[in-house]
Amino acid sequence: MIQSILRYLHSDVTPGVAGNLFWVVVYVLLVFAGISVGVIFMNWFERKIMAHMQVRMGPMRVGPHGLLQPIADALKLIIKEDLMPANADKIVFWFAPVCVVMTAFCGFIVVPFGPTHAITDMNIGVLFMLGVSSLGVLGVIMAGWASNSHYPLMGSLRSGAQMVSYEIAMSMTVVSAVMMTSMATGTGTLSMIGIVQAQLQQHTWFAFSFFPVGLTALGVFSIAMVAETNRAPFDLPEAESELVAGFLTEYSGFRWSLFFLAEYAGMIAVSSIATTLWLGGWLRPFPNLLGGKNWDTAFSLVPGITFVALAALCLFYFTRMPSIRAMRADARGLAAFGGVLGVIGIVMLLPGVRVRVQDIYWFTLKVGFFMYLYIWYRTTFPRYRFDQLMKIGWKVLLPISIGVVIMTALIGVRQELLALVWR
């Protein structure tokens, strides 16, 4: 048993490709657990960051600095009554959250956390992910229709129209990124791992290749992905001030938490596409420029150091906790949490673990950056009106993304063109 595990650890191919069913199941569970932890952390992270941006403290009561707040929320949602409106369409009402969650998590099959850390390496990875992410609209419209009341109906129609119109702009920018992969090897690849390796060979992240084009592609994609997941300036479907809670109005309890889970999973999925395509997935910064043995070891220490630093931060806050009897449990909780982080940090510094963990660390760091952007947008921007949203989707983002595709093509074949012109 241990042999097969060790033998597998040295294999350099993803479990799906290796066809080893046991490992695929393990990886699926790992990814599912990882994304759920990510959603839980994101719940706490969003409330805290938004609170600090709004000169308030955010959750402080449940656990030290609100650390147990997500667990408390999850527990509350599970316990709460999960009612279904009287003449709602029972089956469709029940199936809507299931469909939304399924599509949200389905996208993670192809997301590469590392050269071999992906459930499988489909050669049409990006296409598969875009296809699955556009299925989410189905669940939303089902939810809106099944709730049989005005607000959800309007919310779901708005969301359907919004997702469709931003889907095209997104896929155009993805086309431009895929075209960039064919620069070195002559033949592009749709497989997510292939794209990252192409960025490795071309010594540059696609965001910075062909200077203005890569960045505009990333910009357009990041705007379109915000609209795709109904967030921040484009959160019309669940615009509190107009449609109360849009398609979520009639949902409560566990079903509502499924939608909540799916929304965050969708956000993580779409940001992981952006990181893989433009910010060089799991590549550490400057893999070629600062190549060589000692640079590698230096960069591989970074994950361990960050966890130890977080542990130190927790202990620092532990000392600053008011020493009244009521806060003693919180203080001890914070100390324990700091301890756990410290242990993880030290384990990560071990040479064997270090090498494997750094890929996943860099990938999550970049996805974390996109998550921070989501929260930042949500605190700062007012909401677009529905017709303005459509105008931007069709009249602004779509032309720019088509322009990006044309520019990538032109720059890609510039030698042949010049040769043709001068001959």
């Binding site: 960051i49 000169v55 308030r56 806060m327 930042w376 947008y377 605190t379 700062t380």
Partner: protein
């Protein structure tokens, strides 16, 4: 001027300026939340909160049961009960009930009292579990409502 306008618009400068404002507010010194049971707000001395019957230095109530406060109250929620003391021919306060449930803390009773016997003190934790508890009797008005003190 038009070009700068165009460039600003194209590079989303106005959106970035907004984002810089929210980012700038993140430093911990800006936080204004007051965590209630631990750090309590400081109350001004003119605060109109819990009504109290004032005692002079040797513990005797200043109230002469004249009923001016009952007349002045817009909600007519004060009832002053008094007995005529045979020798001193002066009214003695027997009971004084004050229906806090309907009081709007306007302070008119405090103004009307000739002998400053009734005063809206700065107690603001008046929540109770029963509506009847809000009909304050004479003793409650003397030494205030003893609610449960929370610390966390």
């Amino acid at each position: 001027m038009k070009i700068i306008e165009m460039v600003r618009r194209f590079l989303l400068i106005d959106l970035l300026e907004g984002m810089w404002v929210t980012f700038r507010h993140q430093n911990p010194s800006d936080l204004v939340t007051e965590q209630y049971p631990m750090n309590r707000p400081e109350i001004s001395d003119r605060f109109r909160g819990q009504p109290r019957l004032v005692k002079d230095e040797n513990g005797k109530l200043l109230c002469t049961a004249c009923g001016a406060c009952a007349l002045a109250c817009p909600e007519k929620l004060i009832k002053v009960g008094s007995l005529r003391d045979p020798e001193t021919k002066k009214k003695v306060l027997t009971d004084f009930d004050f229906d806090l449930g309907r009081c709007m803390f306007c302070g008119l009773c405090e103004e009307a009292c000739p002998s400053n016997a009734l005063n809206l003190s700065s107690g603001y934790e008046l929540a109770l579990y029963t509506r009847e508890g809000l009909e304050l009797g004479k003793d409650q008005l003397e030494n205030g409502i003893q609610g449960k003190v929370y610390d966390k």
